[in-house]
């Protein structure tokens, strides 16, 4: 019996003829709706639990149901003054938790529905439970709303009714209805003893799904934040029709004299420091060749180990090292005073030569590690080439010139293309830690500018615009670099 079942696993999935089409369509709809509901739960302006204007406009239903601290974040004063009670918020929180749990169950049921009939019937039950939980959560939200309506200071509590509530209520009812229809009308009972089975491709996909979700939440969802570029948004504010600004912030970049000057200065710093990096990009290759020239491999390896250390410490620690060496009471001044020269210069303060200093620190930190990449390439060069060259009478330098360098050039060209593609991305950490009052103007690169503008000064829309421009230009550069690589080397780099 089980043998026959194993041979025809698909057949058991199918309910009776006619019903199959409807059930199949319903499951497809369920998966789409479940995904849509999950997305909605992340949207701040679509929060059914925002029943009072005291609750932050930027709170999503998901956050309302996972973080009580976020839920009451803007209501501290109201709670302190007794305009509202903690109980009402706790009730609201409980409702949100139930709602979010319900949504997660709906997602779970959509996953289960990929299995055989046995799985599908379990999926229906989970869907029913999820829909009911969501409904229950919404009812709790309503009860909490009644409490908010009952508080004395109505003009301070400002109760409201979020439109999203209707959407969620409809969705919950649809889920319950679908579960009932599928379970009791559309799907037949599975034969007794039917095991839970799912096609391999879906099982593997479901194991993968949580990680895809994480990637979606942390890499794709932020793209949705680009909408801030089109609004006059202030931290804690909201996005709506009244503060829609169109392309104001995009033109602002070019029309505002002060901003334009800032952008020009920052671009100059960025291109200068990236340019210096690109101009010195051959150095690791040279170092690797020099390292490979040591007769003693043990000496070479020891040196490699030592010069790679700085790559593994953070920029904060590089800054600590810089302070210990070059600040007023650091090693250099201490050593000079031992020699009899009184000196208390702080070599880190001034802005003169800051680009070169940053290049030097970058090289100190990264050169050893970058060289090891080429050392690995050199060790994979066919030794027969060198032997043949020796037979032909080539000297040491000629072997480097005609064998080693040409063998390393492909690696070098890939790294060079990649560094050109990321010419705008210097990162902010190095420049942030070395920044001080005197060098701030000439050390500020694009990434640091975005940080200063957006996080330190709270000018969200403008900094978003700058970030968007950067992403767009970087993508174009990467695309160009990739095509150049395809043309020249015949293979792509990404």
């Amino acid at each position: 019996m089980s043998g026959a079942a194993a041979i025809h696993p698909i057949k058991r999935n199918l309910p009776g003829p006619g019903e199959a089409g409807i059930a199949k369509a319903l499951y497809t709809l369920l998966r789409a709706l479940a995904f849509a509901t999950l997305l909605l739960a992340f949207l701040p302006f679509f929060n059914p639990a925002r029943i009072t204007e005291l609750i932050s406009k930027n709170l999503s239903f998901f956050t309302a149901g996972t973080s009580y601290a976020s839920l009451i974040t803007d209501s501290g004063r109201a709670l302190l003054r007794g305009w509202v009670t903690e109980g009402a918020y706790k009730l609201l929180y409980a409702g949100s938790i139930l709602g979010v749990l319900g949504i997660l169950l709906v997602i779970f049921s959509a996953c289960l529905s990929l299995g055989n009939l046995r799985f599908k019937r379990l999926s229906n039950l989970v869907l029913l439970l999820g829909g009911l939980l969501l409904l229950g959560g919404l009812v709790l939200v309503l009860v909490s709303r009644q409490q908010f309506l009952g508080f004395a200071e109505q003009d301070r509590v400002k109760p409201m009714f979020p439109q999203a509530f209707y959407a969620y209520a409809v969705l919950a009812l649809v889920f319950v209805g679908m579960a009932l229809a599928l379970q009791f009308i559309l799907l037949p009972k599975p034969a007794p003893g039917t095991p839970f089975e799912m096609q391999t491709k879906y099982r593997l996909f479901l194991m993968f799904l949580p990680f895809a979700a994480l990637a979606f939440i942390f890499a794709y969802l932020p793209l949705f934040g680009w909408r801030y570029a089109f609004f006059d948004y202030k931290p804690g504010g909201t996005l709506n029709a009244s503060n829609y600004a169109g392309f104001k912030w995009f033109t602002y970049l070019f029309t505002q004299a002060a901003t334009r000057a800032d952008i020009l200065r920052v671009m100059k710093n960025t291109l200068a420091m990236s340019g210096l990096g690109i101009l010195t990009s051959w150095v690791p290759m040279a170092l690797a060749i020099m390292l490979s020239e040591f007769k003693s491999k043990r000496f070479s390896r020891t040196i490699q180990t030592l010069i790679t250390i700085p790559n593994f410490i953070s920029w904060v620690l590089v800054y600590a090292v810089a302070l210990a060496m070059f600040s007023t009471d650091g090693f250099v001044n201490g050593f000079l005073s031992v020699l009899g020269v009184t000196s208390s210069q702080n070599y880190l303060m001034g802005s003169e030569g800051i680009w070169l200093k940053m290049l030097a620190w970058g090289m100190w930190k990264g050169m050893g590690w970058s060289a090891i990449i080429y050392v690995a390439s050199i060790s994979s060069i066919d030794p027969q080439l060198y032997e043949a060259a020796t037979v032909d009478g080539a000297g040491r330098f000629q072997k480097v010139r005609y064998i080693t360098v040409p063998s390393l050039l492909p690696t070098y060209s890939v790294l060079l293309l990649l560094s050109i593609a990321s010419i705008l991305s210097n990162g902010m950490e190095q420049y942030y830690v070395f920044r001080n009052a005197q060098n701030a103007a000439s050390i500020e690169v694009l990434d640091l500018y975005v940080y200063t503008l957006g996080i330190e000064n709270g000018i969200i829309p403008l900094s978003t615009v700058v970030g968007m421009m950067k992403t767009a230009i970087s993508l174009v550069l990467l695309f160009v670099a990739n095509n150049v690589s395809r043309l020249v080397r015949g293979e792509s780099i990404v």
Binding site: F42, P44, S67, K201, L204, M207, F208, F211, L214, A215, F218, A219, P222, L223, F224, G225, Y228, M290, L291, F299, T302, I303, T308, I309, F312, I313, S314, V316, L317, V321, L323, A324, T328, D329, F331, F335, S337, V338, N346, W364, I372, A376, G393, A394, G395, R396, F397, M428, Y432, N436, A437, Y451, G454, I455, I460, S463, T464, G467, T471, L475
Partner: protein, 311 residues
């Protein structure tokens, strides 16, 4: 055309030029290597020497009056202990989560049977090449309630596309017969993963674990951006930065000359104490890296060679 002539002269100079090069080469790398370790040595001898001598800047090449009380007194420096705990916790937990996820996902994406495998693999990998930007990323974390929340250190790092590529490439090099025979014996994918794939991938998992741990330990910007109103959740790097910077500010204040002498003396004393404190915190921050460093060097080559292989 006169290549032979050139070669001739070249060969003649080689012994002399070559020797000169050898000397220069050895000297150059000795200086370079020294510049890479001396600062750490300097920091270390200053933390174990007599503090009054340190304050006068007299400890330059060797320690005097060796003692370890600075390390013990660090217990009284506020917040360093907390920051140390936070950094250790995020390094251990964050690395463990990342390694488990990378190995599992790396295994899954080698399975051709997976529904729309190519699409989903690209869905993950493409995230290496675009970035919504700092501000949208920050607003996203705010929206998720992950600011001022320890989980902000752990969850975003779980899916690491580059490490997934490394593990996938490595698993693809494991003979498929091992897995097939297990499948025939009735093992499920999870069993195969835990019993066969995981033990065989230890070298690559060790590599990504070490690099991941160093990344977590060194992480500074996420603490800076996401923990703005939770000083208790600052990482050790962030705490160190604050201490380093406090010192700078005190120095700037002194240079301004706008304070009376008593205050200046007090600030002076604080500054100098801060010197020892900041050196000691720096050492505490470096030591874990230097401790795992010998183990790391074993995996250098492997990590790099694999990094050169595309997904």
């Amino acid at each position: 055309m006169n290549k032979t002539k050139q070669k001739h002269s070249y060969t003649q100079r080689e012994s002399l030029g070559g020797q000169a090069f050898n000397v220069f080469n050895a000297l150059f790398f000795l200086v370079f290597a020294l510049s890479c370790i001396f600062p750490f040595y300097y920091l270390f001898i200053n933390t174990i020497s007599d503090n009054t001598l340190v304050q006068k800047g007299l400890i330059n090449f060797y320690p005097v009056g060796v003692n370890f009380k600075n390390y013990l007194s660090l217990r009284d420096v506020s917040d360093v202990g907390t920051a140390f705990t936070v950094s250790i916790a995020r390094t251990v937990l964050g690395t463990a989560l990342m390694v488990i996820a990378s190995s599992f996902v790396g295994y899954l994406v080698t399975k051709k049977e997976m529904w729309k495998r190519t699409f989903w693999y690209r869905f993950l990998i493409i995230t290496m090449y675009f970035n919504a930007g700092l501000i949208p990323g920050y607003l996203n974390m705010v929206m998720l309630g992950l600011t001022n929340n320890f989980l902000a250190y752990l969850i975003p790092g779980i899916v690491a596309p580059f490490n997934i590529i490394l593990v996938k490439t490595y698993i693809e090099s494991i003979p498929a017969e091992l897995e097939e025979s297990a499948l025939i014996d009735g093992a499920g994918y999870l069993t195969i993963f835990t019993r066969i794939i995981w033990p065989l991938s230890v070298p690559i998992l060790a590599t990504i674990a070490i690099f991941g741990a160093v990344g977590h330990w060194n992480s500074f910007t996420d603490s800076l951006i996401f923990m703005q109103s939770s000083p208790k959740l600052y990482t050790l790097q962030h705490r160190l930065y604050i201490y380093l910077n406090t010192n700078t500010n005190l120095g700037a204040l002194l240079g301004g000359g706008s304070v009376d002498s008593a205050t200046a003396a007090q600030i002076m004393e604080n500054t100098l104490n801060a010197k020892v404190i900041k050196y000691t915190i720096s050492m505490v921050t470096i030591i874990p890296i230097l401790l795992v460093y010998p183990f790391m060097t074993r995996y250098f080559q492997k990590g790099i060679m694999l990094g050169a292989v595309k997904g």
